[in-house]
Symmetry: C2
Subunit: 194 residues, 2 copies
Amino acid sequence: MRVREDAILSAVNRLLADKGFDLMTVDQVAADVGIAKASLYKHFASKEALAAAAMVRLLQCAMGVIQEQSTRSGVRPIQRLEALVRWAVTVQLAGEMPSLPSQNSSLRAELLAHKGYIDLLIQVSERLGEWIVQAQAEGDIDPALPSEVALYSVYARACDPVPGFLKASGQHEAEQIVEWVVSICLNGLRGPQR
Amino acid sequence: MRVREDAILSAVNRLLADKGFDLMTVDQVAADVGIAKASLYKHFASKEALAAAAMVRLLQCAMGVIQEQSTRSGVRPIQRLEALVRWAVTVQLAGEMPSLPSQNSSLRAELLAHKGYIDLLIQVSERLGEWIVQAQAEGDIDPALPSEVALYSVYARACDPVPGFLKASGQHEAEQIVEWVVSICLNGLRGPQR
DNA sequence: GTCTATAGCCAGATAGAC
DNA sequence: GTCTATCTGGCTATAGAC
């Protein structure tokens, strides 16, 4: 059932964003959805599969943002990148960005074996890579930087602890926090002042 | 016994850097040190206490770097900050930076109750805060940025996934990776070009 | 303070009826 | 596909001898 699985993934997404993979329990997922744990396992083979499916959904959202930015005309590549970074930071600040530990080996294995996930990840990386190279040609990203470095720097905004800390301090508006984090990111990639 | 506890904390530090708090097991710590698990609990009351002690040791190292930088004369505040960021990134890249999940509640509670930890954290934050304000006065950090934002951005370099990813790609030297990450961080804080 | 042995708990996963 | 009930294993922490 498609609707049921969507509800499951929403719960997984929320729990991953809230507690992370290691502290998320399948019992909690089942409780949040309102079904028995055994029923969950009829839809997804393992806890790792749950996380993988949530990550696929996230990457699909990212591709949506990328597609949307691609249709804008008369826009510099750096502005498309900025829009994607802003989206990522906004989602994270809203507590809706699932976070996976890069350390967990069973999870890594499952993710690397998940064709849908890998394919999407490659797609996203290639699209962003193009924008980065173009932005370097226009001088908006330091041409001395390998595009790989810029790509990882963009990806890292999805798990940046800074927005969360600033939000927890309670002294700033969410929109303001997003602007700071986005501009710090892009200014960092722009390179030294001349 | 002081030597024994130092060996324990070294093992904890290594395991925290390698697997993180949730995946680190007390059994592994005991095995690494070469003693029985029950003996471990004679030195530290809980797994959380182990992590807290490791974090205190890390903050002491950070204070050491700060003190050392304070003695340098004729050096701009931004250069002192740069040295600290470089130290953090280097430690992290060497796989010696313990990482704690900001989500785990039992751990957070124990850390916040640990006076030695909190005091050190405040000390470090105040010292770095001074440098940041001075760097803003000299135009090396965007004066429009609350110093708090810059402080968190510096702290975040200790758990930045970018150096690890770049190292895993195997295409770059560690020194080169450190320089990229450090300069991206400082350029980001410098603000927009004029 | 060190050990062996074990208590107690909890989480992932499964069995089997409906 | 959903449920209740249970298995299984691993983990934190402790008991108790030496």
